[in-house]
Symmetry: C2
Subunit: 325 residues, 2 copies
């Protein structure tokens, strides 16, 4: 049992990670928000990751840290790259360096398998050694952070590992901020609104259920392999149109879409090769897409889920639907 | 004829670039220092690149900018990566974005062919498509800047180009800050001091005379090829021991060295493939190593060169030698 600091613990992935680690490890959650009701068993610190004294005192005594906080989004503006670096890269690195300086031995970073490559995947999926040429500022920042964290490991400051996560989806993901096609599709299907889709829906992505993401972070805590970046994905390429059809099936709703002119920024086929994760983490995705979508649809349909935290999210989702529908 | 802003104009490469562009273009130099005497024909603005209003007013009306300023060095500490990003990446990007916002159409960035790859070169040299896995914070920052600048081009904000320069050397390079093996070797040879060498001297590097670097920047101003990063090197791998032997020959001094335990951080063989520069810039190195070393030795030996600016540098060099010898 380790004492594990989860940074960004109240987010979509953070909550799943905390839930997964609870019982197996001594978990302390750090987030700007108060502790969610469904994570009441956890130590919790509410505060900003830019508050370095707070990060230092919280990290002190922890064996490992999992970094899931982000001040940036894939779709964020390209108009202020210096600001993107200031908030995203500098802020994240400060947290990592504060952890290292306070005796944290291991740092697991949530990187982005969907953006760091920026290149079309071959049949067998993108291996970790594929060229990295991100197509947006979010991807460049994730990639830069991977490199700086690798240097921290290579210079013996802290054992670091970057998990290049594909497109996560599942219960708890909100459709608020342009993230998550599946959450947006669920929300639009259930509210009867038309969903705008960039391009013709034939681009392929690698969707991974959030509970599999959580298992990958749990496995990463025992990692002692040579890799500094590891792909975490389903390894399966699925087209946007296939996702839409599956969402119609699991929700029982028609879900009309408007295809709008494709952004040239989009990669045609993004799917990860996950052989390294199997080899070094003993991890592979457990939840098939159909089953994951069914679970997700049920969560969206419940709206008033019994679990307070998830219920809260679901209610927010419904409120938005009501507002914008 | 274009109006060209040279940012970091008083530095080793900056002075050579300004000298090369003078007469061909309308040049304005920006640097923290006053205008060097040998660049008296240039428009000059003294100030910090962190002074954004100053950068904006200086950039306004310029067709192109050449960015040679750096607040970081290859050998700088790995202990404060967040600080490195704050000063180096954010500072440089702010200048680029200010240039774009003030109508500068083209931005040529001095990247580092010696650090962005971080991997051993094959026989034919590293092509621009080689994996990029820098071994120090300086290299990661240069690489990150390349990516952000590429995005600025891809999103139509400004035409950007990164020149991945190999190891520059030549007249005007000082041996002050751990940069430049050849400058250090010249200084030590002429002062009779022993030169410490990391490793056994068999590692190979790609040395390029500064006047060839200047020609590459001049050629870049007319670039309209597809590449966003272009290697600028001699394409020739030369071992450290061969350099030392050549420095002994051109200076006529013994130059004793102390081999100290190699840093694991060092790449064994770093040499650039320059086919792209030939193809897209019509550029290739003109000055053979022997001739370049002779010119450099003469500059070090003169000490009181007639050209005021260069003489000033040479005198500084001699003063250091006298002080530390």
């Amino acid at each position: 049992m380790k004492r594990v600091l989860v940074i960004g613990a109240a987010g979509f992935i953070g909550r799943a990670v905390c839930t997964e680690l609870q019982g197996r490890h001594d978990v302390v959650g750090l987030d700007i928000t108060p502790r969610p009701a469904d994570l009441c068993g956890l130590d919790w610190v509410s505060g900003s990751i830019t508050d370095q004294p707070l990060v230092a005192s919280t990290a002190s005594g922890c064996d490992a840290a999992i970094f899931l906080a982000s001040t940036s989004l894939p779709g964020s503006s390209q108009a202020d790259l210096a600001g993107e670096v200031s908030s995203h890269v500098v802020g994240s690195l400060q947290v990592a360096e504060t952890c290292a300086a306070n005796g944290v031995g291991q740092f697991v970073f949530a990187s982005s398998g969907g953006t760091v490559y920026g290149t079309d995947a071959p049949e067998e999926g993108l291996p970790e050694t594929a060229p990295t040429r991100p197509r947006n500022g979010y991807g460049v920042s994730k990639l830069a952070l991977e490199h700086y964290l690798r240097l921290m490991r290579e210079t013996g400051r802290m054992r670091t590992l970057s998990l290049r996560i594909s497109n996560p989806y599942g219960e708890g993901q909100r459709a608020l901020r342009g993230q998550g096609l599946i959450a947006a599709a669920m929300q639009h299907a259930l509210s009867g609104r038309r969903l705008p889709i960039w391009g013709d829906g034939t681009v392929e992505r690698d969707f991974l259920h959030v509970s599999d993401v959580a298992l990958a972070f749990a496995a990463a805590l025992s990692h002692d392999g040579p890799s500094t970046e590891i792909n975490i994905g389903s390894g399966q390429a699925v087209s946007i149109n296939d996702i839409l059809a599956a969402v119609r099936r699991v929700t029982g709703q028609p879900l009309d879409v408007d295809y709008v002119q494709g952004r040239s920024i989009d990669v045609r086929r993004s799917v990860l090769n996950v052989a390294c994760a199997e080899r070094e983490l003993g991890w592979r995705a457990q939840i098939a897409l159909d089953r994951g979508l069914e679970r997700t649809a049920r969560w969206w349909q419940q709206g008033t889920a019994q679990h307070a935290g998830i219920g809260q999210f679901a209610r927010e989702g419904r409120a938005e639907i009501a507002k914008s529908g």
